[in-house]
């Protein structure tokens, strides 16, 4: 029992379960799923669908954070990929043809992959602090996206493009499959090869792992490139959800949500050990929290206050001081109760 309690995913899972319980008690309709035309509808399904962009971004962020870095540019990169893809679809004669779609998505994602590699170059080769290296694109990225769309919000009508975030496949939202594929791919690449362990070693001690023969430069570089790539796909999903490339609103604050999801999942910002399952749970927790806030009738504008509370609670739970204090308290309590038990006996 204690071994289960000591597992590092216990707290994240407990938080998610508690949140779901609170929701279910306050509105029983939360867990109900209705089937209409062979498609599932309900709050839980909505959460699965709407969490897809955040899931992609958070997976990339997990790898970057594992290398002791951080990627602030993901939101801006989402805006860029959406802008590129929609501009191509808008300019083409056949917005519904699969070829246009493939070119648009490939172009959007390729651009963010290049930007991600650029971040990696700054961090891994030039040795610039990750926060500031990615801040450059965070500032410039939205400007670039605005230039691509010409300062307007490009809107398109393309049925297959719309399908990606709003369509259904075998009863479940298509976007959910996208995040499942991403989770599986990242998990297989990181955990079924040595890459994950190497990434952790770079995060724990870059210098020592370099001396041990780990090519830390390539690993760090790759982490940022992967983050850029995933942010690109997230941007495609986001723009397909609203069918518009809004350079200012796309992916706003998503970098913060993603960092929060990673931290909620038990991955330390100091780099090293990371947990993909933890990140997945963290993403669902944040998405459920957002849905809860909306349901409670809190104006969306005040929701940052709730996010602040969550951040503070999470970091306090992770803090050594609070943990040590609670542990001492717990020990004192259990010691007394065993003593009481002995006395009673």
């Amino acid at each position: 029992m204690t071994r289960i309690l000591r597992h590092r995913l216990v707290l994240p899972i407990a938080a998610l379960v508690a949140l779901v319980l609170v929701n279910t008690i306050s509105r029983p309709s939360f867990v109900s799923i209705t089937v209409r035309d062979g498609q599932l509808y309900g709050s839980v399904i909505d959460i699965l669908r709407n969490s897809a962009p955040l899931m992609l971004v958070a997976l990339g962020m997990t790898i970057v954070i594992a290398t002791r870095g951080i990627d602030l540019s993901v939101g801006a990169l989402m805006a860029v990929s959406g802008a590129v893809a929609l501009t191509i679809i808008d300019g083409s004669g056949a917005p519904d043809s699969p070829a246009t779609l493939a070119i648009a998505i490939a172009a959007g994602v390729a651009v963010t992959l290049v930007f991600g590699a650029w971040n990696g170059f700054l961090v891994a080769v030039l040795g610039i602090q990750p926060i500031i290296a990615t801040l450059v694109l965070m500032l410039a990225g939205r400007g670039i996206a605005l230039l691509i769309t010409g300062g307007f919000i490009t809107t398109v009508t393309s049925t297959p493009y719309k399908f990606m975030s709003q369509g259904y496949l075998l009863g479940l939202p298509f976007a959910f499959y996208v995040s499942v594929v991403a989770i599986v791919l990242v998990a297989v690449i990181q955990r079924r090869t040595a890459l994950g362990v190497l990434t952790e070693s770079v995060g724990i001690n870059p210098e020592a792992s370099r001396l041990a023969g780990v090519r830390s430069r390539g690993i760090v570089w790759g982490a940022y490139a992967a983050s850029g790539l995933l942010a690109g796909f997230a941007g495609i999903l986001y723009s397909s959800n609203i069918m518009a490339a809004d350079a200012n609103a796309a992916g706003q604050y998503i970098e913060l949500d993603a960092i929060l999801a990673v931290v909620l999942g038990g991955t330390s910002l100091m780099g090293g050990k990371f947990s993909i399952a933890g990140t997945v749970i963290g993403v669902f927790t944040i998405q459920t929290l957002k849905s809860t806030i909306t349901f409670l009738g809190v104006p969306p504008a005040v929701s940052p206050l709730f996010m602040a509370l969550v951040v503070v609670i999470v970091v306090l739970v992770q803090s050594q001081r609070v943990r040590g204090g609670t542990l001492r308290l717990w020990n004192a309590l259990t010691a007394r109760s065993t003593k009481d038990a002995e006395v009673a006996r």
Binding site: L135, A140, I144, L147, G151, L269, L305, A308, V315
Partner: protein
């Protein structure tokens, strides 16, 4: 080194060498100053009417709030921290002040309340960092969310400010030969001077540099690390509160969505001004130059009539340039 000093012909070179080795941390500031002058001259050549008292005066007028924020941010970054909350705290204090004023509170009460409000959020961030080992990035992120949420809690819509004292801060202009200066500009310059003096000549200021240089050493030397770091965040919060006052005067209203992204502009200005994000090296005067570089780019782009999105792109590019230059400087000095 000894070789160059013995040759009289190389006297100037030796002086430059000596200066660059002893005052290495000033080099980025001079680089920023060079960029600022180059920008101004280029603007003058291109537009013909760029270096005029009117344009230069409005540079200070339009960026007074950013200047105040940058001074507070410099304190925090010098301790190797970061404060992402300043934009949101600015919005919160501004909307709080506007609400209190509209409900009839006198301005002598409202202004201290705004300053204290900002300081309290700064203190909260400092406590999280210092006592719970939370990373500055995350702690100030919580502060940012909290301040933004509080701002919306105070009011969801814009509140007009009609208080004559607040409006006087912006509208009263002192004219000297075509130059003009508003009380907000005077406040900003005063904050810069106070910040520079505190950092250079007080025990507290020197402790900030010591902590940024090496926190462990500073603690072993018996310096009051905890108190100083807390105070740095309180100063940043108080500066954000003051910037809220100045911004309210500038806009003539409070609005909860004010200052979105301002924290990034502030950090960019501080970095362009030559402050190292690793802490321990940088100057308030550099941050002031960084703010003016930012303001000049913004003015030039509005002169060009181009999209304001170019401002962000140019700032991003400049930031990149400075970070690379700083990186080279740090690499050189650590080799020495």
């Amino acid at each position: 080194m000894s070789l160059t000093t013995t040759r009289p012909l190389d006297g100037l070179r030796a002086r430059v060498d000596r200066f660059t080795s002893r005052r290495a941390s000033w080099i980025p500031v001079f680089a920023a100053l060079g960029i600022l002058i180059a920008l101004l001259v280029a603007g003058q050549v291109y537009f013909g009417n760029f270096i005029t008292p009117r344009v230069l005066s409005s540079l200070l007028l339009d960026n007074a709030y950013l200047l105040i924020l940058a001074v507070g941010m410099t304190f925090v970054i010098l301790t190797a921290g970061i404060d992402l909350s300043v934009g949101a705290v600015l919005a919160f204090t501004a909307i709080l002040g506007a609400r209190l004023l509209s409900e009839g509170f006198p301005v002598v009460v409202v202004i201290p309340v705004m300053l204290v409000g900002g300081s309290l959020i700064g203190l909260l961030i400092g406590v999280l960092i210092q006592f719970f080992d939370v990373q500055p990035f995350i702690a100030s992120l919580a502060g940012m969310f909290a301040a933004r949420g509080l701002a919306f809690l105070v009011s969801l819509s814009s509140i007009k400010v009609e208080d004559p004292v607040i409006l006087w801060l912006q509208t009263k202009l002192f004219y000297i030969d075509g130059w003009f200066l508003s009380p907000t500009g005077i406040i900003a310059i005063g904050v810069v001077i106070a910040g520079a003096l505190v950092l250079q000549f007080t025990r507290f200021g020197r402790t900030i540099y010591a902590i940024g240089g090496n926190e462990q050493s500073a603690r072993l030397m018996g310096l009051p690390v905890v108190r100083t770091k807390l105070l740095a965040y309180v100063i940043s919060g108080a500066c954000a509160g003051l910037a809220g006052i100045v911004f309210t005067a500038y806009q003539g209203a409070g609005y909860p969505l004010n200052g979105v992204g301002t924290e990034l502009d502030t950090i960019a200005a501080v970095v362009i001004g030559g402050t190292l994000l690793t802490g321990g090296s940088g100057f308030v005067l550099g941050s002031m130059i960084g703010v003016f570089v930012y303001g000049t780019i913004k003015t030039a782009i509005s002169f060009l009539g181009a999209e304001q999105s170019w401002t962000r792109i140019t700032i991003g590019a400049l930031l990149l340039m400075f970070v690379v230059v700083q990186r080279v400087i740090v690499a050189r000095s650590s080799r020495r």
